[in-house]
């Protein structure tokens, strides 16, 4: 373990922001104030943060249907995100994208995506661009176990290998694609990393509920990719605490499954246990972080609620740069 105290607190803080942002959304959605579909990332925080903690704003990511965690981990403005999800004028995307389409190119976040599997080819394109620039940047495609069954993902992996692009395929296997289990939907051996290996790239596996395992495995992977070895993949075994979309009653879950996950596979609890046992940090410090984050989320929510809606007169703006 080479993380400084500051880095450890930072990692926890980012995970806590994702957690509280989403727990708050889960409550706010019930009020009916938030329109549309929202897909919560809660439970997978260690995956996004463990991956993105290695990246700078120069590195690029494309995200998924379940993109809030990736946005926060990559450095998108949390208040801007909340306003966006509330459909406000000053939201990160002016209220045009909503939960499923948050992007912030200024921090290298090239967009969440409403289409499962659409991001992977885009990450390869971004990686081709990064390779051309020769500055050692990488491009990451976050994909779920649902996207791993899309042809686009296969095409993207093959193209990345062919052109030796610094593309990284991060497969977050949270065991459900929409409402269908991975045991049913992912054929043969259920191992997504082996699919990447079949395309000729090196693949790693890590416990996506464990920040430290994710972070350390990604460090090895990134060292390999930044050295010019072409693309690589990692499968992160992780969990999703909420349904596919908010309002999904999750009848497909086994009895007691969610309670067990919250008890045994909560990445924030695991993080606290790890740093506590190893005496790396005083847990009081993390409690303080929780309180500080709660304040941020409270502000983000009340500001978003009070923020002005978009002007309908602008409905058809920004389609083209120049038309």
């Amino acid at each position: 373990m080479q993380l400084s105290r500051e880095e450890l607190v930072g990692a926890y803080r980012r995970m806590a922001i994702i957690r509280q942002f989403e727990e708050r959304l889960h409550e706010e959605i019930k009020t009916g104030e938030i329109a549309g579909f929202t897909h919560l990332y809660c439970g997978q925080e260690a995956a996004a943060v463990g991956v993105c903690d290695h990246l700078t704003t120069e590195d690029l990511i494309v995200s998924t249907h379940r993109g809030h965690g990736h946005c926060i981990a990559k450095g998108c403005d949390v208040k801007g995100m909340m306003k966006e999800i509330y459909g406000r004028r000053d939201g990160l995307c002016k209220g045009r994208g909503g939960s499923m389409h948050i992007a912030d190119l200024s921090v290298g976040m090239l967009g969440a995506n409403g289409i499962v599997g659409a991001g992977a080819p885009q990450a390869v394109g971004a990686a081709i661009a990064a390779k051309l620039d020769g500055k050692g940047r990488v491009a990451i495609a976050f994909s779920g176990d649902g996207a791993c069954n899309q042809g686009t993902t296969f095409e993207a992996m093959n193209l990345a290998v062919v052109v030796k692009a610094p593309a990284i395929f991060v497969f977050e296997n949270n065991h459900y694609s929409e409402h269908t289990g991975v045991d049913y939907a992912v054929g043969t051996n259920k191992d997504i990393a082996s699919r990447a290996e079949a395309f000729g790239m090196k693949a790693w596996r890590a416990n996506g509920c464990d920040y430290f395992d994710t972070y350390e495995t990604m460090r090895d992977l990134l060292e390999y990719v930044r050295a010019g070895n072409g693309p690589a993949a990692i499968e992160l075994d992780t969990e999703r605490f909420y349904g596919h979309f908010e309002g999904d009653p999750q009848r497909y879950r086994a009895k007691g499954e969610l309670d067990r996950l919250r008890e045994e596979r909560d990445c924030l609890k695991a993080f606290r246990a790890r740093v506590g046992e190893a005496k790396l940090l005083d847990l009081q410090l993390l409690d303080d972080v929780d309180a500080e984050v709660a304040q941020l989320i409270e502000e983000a929510t009340s500001e978003a609620r009070a923020a002005p809606p978009p002007d309908p007169a602008h409905v058809a703006e920004d389609v083209y740069v120049d038309y």
């Binding site: 995307c93 190119l105 967009g111 394109g125 081709i128 703006e317 740069v321 038309y323």
Partner: protein, 336 residues
């Protein structure tokens, strides 16, 4: 001015623009042609002969042979554009747009709007389209109307070598995703091409002939058919206003409406099936915006509502022809 054909104009423009802007990259199936095989690195240079020489000049980092993976090609172009490059992706046959449609329709076309206007997607997709080579139903279609219907994409159809240069240059200098349609039967068309920088603004139709009796709206290969018909009709004393749209998105509505207001008669020639077509679109625009100018119902010349057939006789029957345009013009003049 140099005389060259459309194929040469496209190749020359790519060459010049790639020289000028190191952010331009070219990718597609066989754009190098022969990469990785014993025959050498540039065995073909594109099956349509539009990309030879690029690889030798700009190398494998900027001229990229891809596997047969249309979604990956267009998706990679989308991602590269977001990441600051200016990709030119080739769809060897426009029909393959179906294979990659999500990346065009849900991705490229929507990035700017969906992300609050904070990004651009300066990608050019070259789509080789059209009937006339007996390539049958899956290799002959003109899918420009479908892409025209998608806000966020610009749709361009050069009919002359000069426009091929001017419009492609404009596409490569602009910041929006451009669908650049090249008709496979037009590559050999020769004409004068302005030397040096030549940009043709989008949304500015070309008045090919001025006649005053009937407005004939065309694009792509249909422009030449319109010219043939107009020549024949001129010999009978019938004057045709022949319009080459150049781009269908943006559409030069003003040029169409101005002409129809003067002639009172509209023929739209569109190399695609009739339903929800460019012909239907333009007829509707004219009917709703210039109704009182019309002396006869708009005529739409398209293929039948069927896939494009293989046999020579059948394909000839499918595609609009100069004869059909002539007949439509005469019928409009006889209408009372």
């Amino acid at each position: 001015m140099a005389v060259m054909n459309i194929r040469e104009a496209i190749n020359k423009t790519l060459m010049d623009e790639m020289e000028r802007d190191s952010n331009i990259i070219v990718l597609g199936e066989d754009v190098v042609g022969g990469a990785g095989t014993a025959g050498g690195q540039e065995a073909i240079g594109g099956i349509w002969g539009t990309t030879p020489g690029l690889f030798a000049k700009f190398g494998a980092d900027r001229v990229i042979d891809t596997p047969i993976s249309e979604s990956a090609i267009i998706g990679a172009a989308a991602g590269a554009a977001l990441a600051g490059k200016r990709p030119v992706a080739e769809l060897m046959f426009a029909d393959f747009v179906g294979v990659s449609l999500d990346q065009l329709w849900n991705q490229m076309a929507k990035f700017r709007y969906m992300f609050g206007g904070k990004t651009t997607c300066p990608a050019v997709v070259r789509l080789i389209y059209g009937a006339g080579m007996n390539a049958a139903a899956q290799h002959s279609q003109s899918v420009y109307a479908m892409l025209t219907s998608m806000p966020g994409l610009k749709v361009v159809l050069p009919a002359t070598p000069a426009d091929a240069k001017g419009l492609l240059t404009e596409a490569l200098r602009g910041d929006d995703p451009v669908m650049f349609f090249e008709h496979k039967a037009l590559y050999g068309v020769k004409g004068e091409v302005p030397d040096g920088e030549h940009r043709q603004r989008f949304g500015e139709a070309r008045m090919v002939r001025e006649g005053g009796d009937v407005t004939v709206v065309t694009c792509g290969r249909m422009v030449g058919f319109g010219e043939k018909a107009a020549d024949k009709l001129a010999a009978e004393g019938i004057g045709v206003d022949l319009i080459d749209l150049r781009t269908t998105s943006p559409l030069d509505e003003e040029a169409i409406l101005d002409s129809v207001e003067a002639t009172g008669r509209l023929v739209v020639v569109d190399e695609s099936p009739p339903r929800c077509s460019l012909a239907a679109d333009i007829a509707a625009i004219v009917a709703s915006k210039a109704f009182t100018s019309l002396k006869a119902p708009p005529a739409m010349i398209t293929g039948p509502h069927s896939p494009i057939p293989f046999a020579r006789e059948l394909e000839r029957a499918w595609v609009p022809s100069p004869q059909k345009i002539e007949d439509a013009v005469r019928q409009l003049l006889a209408f009372r």
